[in-house]
Homo-oligomer: 282 residues x 2
Amino acid sequence: MQFDKITVIGVGLIGGSIGLAVRGRKLAARVVGVDRDPRALARATGLGAIDAYTTELASGVKDAELVVVCTPVDSIAPLILAAARHVRPGTLFTDAGSTKRNVVEAVGNNLPRGIHYVPAHPIAGSEKSGVENARADLFHRRAVVLIGSHGGSASPAEQRVRQFWEGLGGRVVTMASPEEHDRALASTSHLPHVVAAAVARVLPPAWRDLSGTGFRDVTRLASGDPDLWAAIFQANTAPVISAVNAFREQLDHFCELLQRGDGAALVDWLAEAKRGRDALGS
Amino acid sequence: MQFDKITVIGVGLIGGSIGLAVRGRKLAARVVGVDRDPRALARATGLGAIDAYTTELASGVKDAELVVVCTPVDSIAPLILAAARHVRPGTLFTDAGSTKRNVVEAVGNNLPRGIHYVPAHPIAGSEKSGVENARADLFHRRAVVLIGSHGGSASPAEQRVRQFWEGLGGRVVTMASPEEHDRALASTSHLPHVVAAAVARVLPPAWRDLSGTGFRDVTRLASGDPDLWAAIFQANTAPVISAVNAFREQLDHFCELLQRGDGAALVDWLAEAKRGRDALGS
């Protein structure tokens, strides 16, 4: 066992998958789940994602060595600050939030001495939500961004949290600032979500039957949880607007080539997109 | 055997899949492949998609009961008109092109008496191309648009071509005009392709590692063949521009709500997208 007690706050898709992976890989002596929703906690127990649970934050985090916060991005910092009042010295916090600047700023220097927060974001998920869609292998070979310092200069807290995410199968990538993370994720994750939703909104019901697998692929993300995503967009407004504007310039360019009837330039435009996409693999 | 000799012009993903389905379902006595590329023809034969082949159009279509044209959209009409000079009276033509107005207009009234063209578009495909990616079940339960008249008023040619596409497992949907088809497909297929390519183009190589399954889903179509798609966009310029504009209005609306910080309206915007997407199934 690399860890003693781990507490997971929020047992949805991400928290549940963390529990399944920790227990499956015997990474901790005990996994305790904390959630507002007792039914989610009961389901998580039934699925083997947690050993025990409580709806009370204070008792849930008591004596935890590591607390992993897996709630919507607007509640992560408040929960860390509230939980920090009930943990023993040396307890580590990490999280799985899709935005980092808002959490890092709100946690700030407000933690008690000896309590450390190492911001994280596993690049893994699904358009499906809830612990019933959790998977033990969700993080396998997935990038996990840690906000921290590189290699030898990493603090003991950062090194320990890195061990945790690597223990789940993740490939840890360190980024120096939460702002850098949020700018990158605006392009790699938040923009695709906006685009998927906007395409889904354009389709009149009468034409649903004329959509194929391509339409389904492009719009799959639009099935995501609206509350969860509204919170993400609001926690990352400026970078998301910038990413949408960069994308809009691409559309403008495409329309200009098309209206000009410049077939060769259209082929080039599409070929560059293909090179970028092919580099990612399926 | 419902058909005698069927000739497939263009043995790529679609033509190859038609050959596999016709032969697998014993729909025709013989499937002959015609293509400019002798290697594609040899591969199609090796994969069991065709019984025989030739690179010569005239001998390939001779004595065919049905000719199915599966080439890029800008070459379909020229090939139908050229082939029509070498077929026997009563021969039927259909095609698998993603745009219909350009083909219908170019074929016009230029066919010899007794030769009929029934425009079709199976809503099936893949971002992969080439006969090596062909699948016998590609059309199974997929919508196939026929441009024609409904039910009892359908011409014998249309009824026969409908039998063909239904024989491949498709669900035939009749549309009265090629313009209606092209407007619908601009939203259900061409717009998603533009969007996928534009998102792929926005991603700097340095951030590739930070993209997850969502980014891959949204951009999958960008791996499609640039020449094929440039031809589709050019054959459907005005409807594609309209669809992009409708999509752009959705983006504008999203950005306005986000900049205003209107969380409730953002949730509604996302929830409507989710309802539309959930209605399609996975």
